[in-house]
């Protein structure tokens, strides 16, 4: 018991450290992000003043970077669901140190993604019309409903398992952090002391959420793809789109999670809890998704390409040989094949290799969203010259601002809330300690962190 005690002490110290100690680099990083964000805000104010004319979008290619980024962010929001819900349902014990980060990504990227739709509107001042005059028949309303539901659900899902950790913070941190933080911990730990009835309530709430959140997440990315697939445009008019987008979402979600894991591990010294094993396992999951993506690409393009109906020929030309060929082949080779090799070949199957693969995948998935949107719109509908689209500085700046906001929110989250799910790691550790066999269905001796305080 003594060993467990010090082990626990160390774990708690690690979890508390980011909240207590703040380095100069942290402020520099935040200042940098704030500067980028301010620049993005300035660009957006230009857009608000002059209208979307300041973007590169025009009548024929009427969506661009904003919608690309929207789809990308909604995609990476699937990190949280997959890691914490699917792995929780399947009781993969190794998940515990990374669930919290995955859930952060989910909540933050959903908010950022939703923001990009609003940025893309020609009349953001009329946003409320979607509620006042919303039509259930429109894919955009499906999106609004699905994303709102998902955001609510993922905030709850982030919050519920955090309660015991917040209680730990509440009990351990008085005197060490500013008052407002304590106030947050007090409110959000909802009086957790870890008694049986509380634990029962939380267990059942988490159980319900993890089952609920998986279909919600699948529905979200399906309806995002339906924004495209519900039109008669040649490259979008596809039945595989929903499944393809969901797979792509989980794929990019894992990649972003791996990157975040690597960063936080370095910055906050989590080496003991986030080990090479985690990178490998997530790398394998990512590879599995990459294979599904490769399969999806083949399935889609071979069935379409065999017949080359309608505008298919034009689209194939521009995608594989023409304007978008660089993007496409980078995506297919650099974003799907190479990451598979990196995680599968034994001499690159290490933290570096997996992180490199994740970076490649993240970029590739953004690019995939880009050519789905832009190449899809470029296919001419009537006898006219195909349009072209070059994003302007406003679009790039707003997009950079969006990514800065994403990073900033994660940074702040990490500073305020526990990045490790202390009680779950402890629970997992203890159960592993007592039975070397795989995690039992009902873990014995669930630690009540607050009880120790």
């Amino acid at each position: 018991m003594e060993a467990v005690g010090t082990w626990r002490e160390r774990l708690e110290q690690t979890a508390l450290a980011p909240v207590v100690n703040t380095s100069r680099w942290y402020y520099l990083w935040v200042a940098f992000l704030l500067a980028v964000l301010a620049w993005g805000l300035y660009a957006y104010s230009v857009q608000l003043r002059d209208g979307l004319i300041v973007t590169g979008m025009r009548d024929r290619i009427s969506w661009g970077l904003y919608i690309t980024t929207f789809v990308f962010f909604i995609g990476i929001s699937h990190a949280g669901t997959l890691i914490s819900a699917i792995l929780r349902v399947t009781q993969a014990g190794w998940r515990t140190p990374v669930t919290r980060m995955a859930e952060f990504i989910t909540a933050v990227s959903l908010a950022c993604g939703a923001m990009f739709v609003i940025i893309d509107l020609g009349r953001p001042d009329r946003l409320l019309n979607v509620i006042i005059h919303g039509r259930w028949q429109s894919p955009i309303v499906w999106d609004v409903v699905a994303i709102t539901t998902y955001l609510t659900a993922s905030l709850m899902y982030l919050f519920l398992p955090m309660i015991p950790d917040l209680a730990l913070f509440r009990d351990r941190l008085p005197g060490k952090v500013p008052r407002w933080k304590l106030w947050i911990y007090r409110i959000f730990s909802v009086g957790w002391v870890g008694n049986n009835s509380q634990r029962r309530s939380m267990a059942s709430a988490i159980a319900l959420m993890m089952l609920l959140i998986i279909p919600i997440a699948v529905s979200v990315h399906t309806v995002v793809s339906w924004i495209f697939a519900m039109t008669l445009r040649e490259p979008w008019n596809s039945t595989i789109f929903g499944a393809f987008f969901v797979a792509g979402a989980i794929f990019s979600g894992i990649a972003v999670l791996i990157i975040l894991m690597a960063v936080l591990r370095k910055v906050y010294h989590l080496e003991e809890y986030i080990t090479e094993k985690h990178f490998k396992y997530l790398g394998f999951l990512m590879t599995a998704m990459a294979m599904i993506m490769i399969y999806g690409n083949l399935s889609e393009f071979i069935t379409v390409g065999y017949k080359l109906e309608g505008e298919g020929e034009f689209h194939f030309e521009q995608l594989f040989l023409g304007q978008f060929a660089g993007f496409y082949w980078y995506y297919f080779i650099g974003g799907l094949i190479v990451p598979c090799l990196l995680t599968l070949l034994p001499w690159t199957r290490n933290i570096r290799g997996v992180v490199l693969a994740a970076v490649l995948v993240t970029v590739a998935m953004w690019i995939e969203r880009y050519f789905i949107v832009v190449a899809g719109l470029r296919v001419p509908l009537m006898p006219y010259e195909p349009a072209s689209y070059t994003p302007t500085w406003v679009e790039w700046s707003v997009m950079a601002g969006g990514f800065a906001l994403f990073a900033l929110l994660i940074t702040i989250f990490v500073k305020v809330f526990p990045i490790l799910s202390v009680w779950e790691i402890a629970e997992e550790h203890e159960s592993a300690e007592q039975s070397p066999a795989p995690a039992p269905l009902v873990p014995e001796a669930v630690a009540a962190p607050a009880g120790g305080g």
Binding site: R60, S62, W63, N129, S204, L441
Partner: protein
């Protein structure tokens, strides 16, 4: 610390403690409170904000004995030479632009030059096809674009949020966006806006051919029909089975059937209300190999002061 631990299994979905009947009823109450706003909230908001639901101007146009008109357009391509013989930009486009002050570069009726088999070309004046199964109406999140009882599709620029999903959905490239402040002359700003006559144009919203139902109700023909020097465009009412190009009156069904009329992209099942009679201007003496037409002009562009133009 150990008692009761046997039922804290967080991995046990089937064990939902507390979901007995009394609790269930309580949850049900909460759920009802949560779900109730879904349909009710929008209607409450609509009421409190006093938003009108009728967005077109007045009642639908009626035939003399009360049937609702079903507007249609039949474009006889045998008579359309892209105004080559006039030496002007297509006059239908010009007339529509002048009548609606449509901002540059919007051509609500755009005269496309399409290749014919054998390398000749034909001119296809293309207004909004007024689909009866309109992809644009289906996807609009706020019903800013809507079908009317007369079978036309209109846009309420006072409601449009500028999401542009309708532009992605229209398979005929017939929707235009006001990317910036629309370049229109000062007099356009004085007009009374209605969805049936979209003047003045509004920044950040979508526009397209409205089929001029206000003109038709008043007993005149749309600008484009009036503008065509070759009388190639017929406007009519399928309910009364009648159409006219301003010169002669014909039976719409007969004109269509006797001349192998077709609709654009029929296979998409959008069911357009605009029909075409195949041809390449031969009836007005155009040779199929005489290519090119004059570019469209926006006559007031110098007077639209301060407005930034954009290209399509």
């Amino acid at each position: 610390m150990s008692e009761g631990d046997h039922n804290t299994g967080s991995e046990e979905p089937q064990e939902a403690p507390g979901l007995n009947r009394r609790h269930f009823l309580k949850y049900l109450g909460f759920g009802a409170i949560g779900a109730a706003p879904l349909p009710i909230l929008p209607s409450l908001l609509r009421k409190t904000l006093d938003q009108k639901t009728v967005r077109s101007n007045g009642a639908p146009a009626l035939a003399p004995n009360g049937q609702i008109r079903q507007w249609t357009m039949i474009i006889d391509l045998r008579y359309c030479d892209g105004c080559q013989s006039q030496g002007t930009p297509p006059q239908c486009t010009t007339a529509c632009i002048e009548g609606h002050f449509s901002p540059e570069p919007m051509e609500w009726i755009e005269v496309y030059e399409a290749e014919l088999p054998g390398d000749g070309t034909q001119f296809i004046p293309t207004p909004c096809q007024q689909c009866q199964n309109p992809p644009c109406v289906n996807v609009c999140p706020v019903a800013a674009t809507f079908s009317t009882p007369e079978g036309t599709v209109l846009i309420d620029q006072n409601r449009c949020i500028g999401c542009r999903i309708c532009m992605a959905a229209c398979p005929y490239d017939r929707r235009f966006f006001n990317w910036g402040s629309p370049p229109v002359p000062p007099e356009a700003l004085l007009a009374d806006y209605s969805a049936e006559h979209q003047v003045p144009a509004k920044k950040g919203t979508v526009m397209k051919c409205d089929f001029c139902p206000d003109m038709a109700r008043a007993g005149t023909l749309p600008y484009c029909v009036q503008g065509c020097p070759n009388d190639a465009i017929y406007y009519g009412d399928l309910e009364e089975d009648i159409a006219t190009n301003g010169e002669e009156v014909v039976s719409a069904s007969r004109l269509l059937s006797q001349n192998q009329a077709y609709r654009l992209k029929e296979d998409l099942n959008t069911k357009p209300r605009v029909y075409y009679i195949p041809g390449h201007g031969e009836a007005v003496g155009r040779d199929a190999f005489t290519e090119g037409r004059q570019p469209t002009e926006w006559p007031w562009i110098e007077r639209a002061k301060g407005a930034r133009e954009w290209k399509r």
